[in-house]
């Protein structure tokens, strides 16, 4: 790939008080790429993801997204509108219906007309497979359905990049696949995705690259098949042996 990276992370440092979360991470992600980040808990993978849309402030280093450095408040809000995020705990807005959840940011941030945002919302709910729940409140949906609404909500902003922070970790096993299916479809459509997840099946099927993080650093990165079956670093072997039991 000889394009410009859409996400450029250079020497990123972040600490919470005395505890270091990121110790100088370098990572370039190119348009259309799907990158899966794995690693033990506390390795800094979620923190890294949250630094990409500046939900987490960092202490040193550079993050440039879509050509804009994450420094000024204007840039940050502009970037956030271009970068969709899906959370482990869904974080749907419980006081709004499913339809309103998908419409609210279109209306408020993109200043779209009601009709246009309604049309987009219905289309996206169809895409994630739950148009019939449009009038329901999030509390009436299963976890898998809620997470699919959360994906639709993020997509409604027409993002260039989608970030997934352990999107299936809070789900019952039988609901994981329905969410992964939506993510797979997105990957096939060419969406740039950064996914923190231990779903090896998804990584093998959709990811261009898998990245293993530990202690705030990138230990190893490679094509998923190679990284999972033929890891080079001892740390990667140790970690994979634990999760591939």
């Amino acid at each position: 790939m000889n394009q410009e990276p859409i996400i450029h992370i250079k020497n990123l440092h972040k600490h919470f008080g005395q505890t270091a979360a990121l110790n100088g991470v370098d990572l370039d992600i190119y348009p259309g790429e799907v990158v899966v980040i794995i690693g033990p808990s506390g390795s800094g993978k979620s923190t890294l993801l949250r630094c990409i849309n500046r939900l987490e402030e960092f202490n040193a280093g550079t993050v440039i997204v879509d050509g804009l450095p994450l420094t000024t408040a204007e840039n940050i809000n502009a970037i956030r509108a271009e970068v969709g995020m899906v959370f482990q705990s869904f974080n749907l807005f419980p006081h709004l219906t499913v339809l309103e959840n998908v419409m609210v940011a279109q209306r408020v941030v993109r200043k779209r007309q009601r009709d246009e945002s309604l049309e987009t919302a219905l289309e996206l709910l169809k895409k994630v497979g739950i148009p019939e729940k449009a009038e329901n409140y999030p509390g009436q949906l299963s976890g898998g359905q809620q997470q699919r609404v959360a994906i639709a909500r993020a997509l409604a902003m027409n993002p260039k990049i989608m970030l997934f922070d352990e999107p299936t970790s809070a789900l019952d096993p039988e609901m994981i696949q329905e969410v992964l299916d939506v993510m797979l479809q997105l990957a096939r459509e060419g969406m740039t995705m950064v996914v923190v997840s231990h779903e090896m099946g998804f990584a093998r099927a959709a990811a261009d690259r898998a990245v293993l993080m530990d202690e705030g650093l990138i230990v190893e990165e490679d094509v998923p098949d190679v990284l999972f079956s033929n890891p080079k670093a001892e740390r990667t072997k140790a970690f994979l042996s634990k999760i591939l039991v």
């Binding site: 939900l55 959370f87 705990s89 974080n91 940011a105 409140y137 909500r153």
Partner: protein, 270 residues
Amino acid sequence: MQIRKELEKVPGYEVADHRIDSWWWLVVAVIGIVVLLATLQPDPYWRIMRFVSDGLLITVGVTLIAFVLTLFTGLIAALGRLAQSSFIRWLTTIYVEIARGVPLLVQLLFWYFAFPSLVQAFGRLIQYRPFERYLANPFAMAILGLTFCYAAYMSEIYRAGIQSIPKGQNEAARSLGMSHGQAMRYIILPQAIKVILPPVGNEFISLLKDSSLVSVVAVADMTRRGREFMAANFIPVETWMMIALLYLIMTLISGRVVAWMERKTQTESR
């Protein structure tokens, strides 16, 4: 509605609902006592009621105006205490500490007696005639005093309500590109309102009762009118019993309305 119908089949649900509603009978009973007293013993009870009725309107007016202002000012103070700028946080915290730390009666006395003198002194200093001749309007100063104090308490209620909303809600809103203000307005505050409605209702009832303190700063509210009636007629027991009953009617009705709103917001949308 569907959920409510389902719930009504559950044994005990109907009973609980009924018990809350039954408190309306207390309101009816107190009103009944007042009506009985006024019709069976028009002298002095009906005479007292007629005498203090204009004061009752003042009490209601002072309370309603001060409450509406408190709702606005309290929200601004709460947002100030949650602001990103440490200077604004510091400023609003000082305000809240002062307003909560000085007795309301002392605050009312300050605004009515001391504040105008300060304005006059300032007017002389800058040679500005309207300030030099400034005279306090009792009604306005009473409302200012009540609002100044109650907005501080109200800001703490708002703040607790805002902080009770999970952090993920704000993160989700911000990750969609919303500004701090947009996230507050469309996502956080609509959810916080449900949480704060009961304590805000209780503040209204407190304010209604504390409005009787404005009687010491030349506002002819119901309490002051009661004192005037007593001074002319020397029947303290009848006068203060009637005043107490009239306050009780207003606070009991307010309490029922708050309970009704609370139930309404809880059954809706979930």
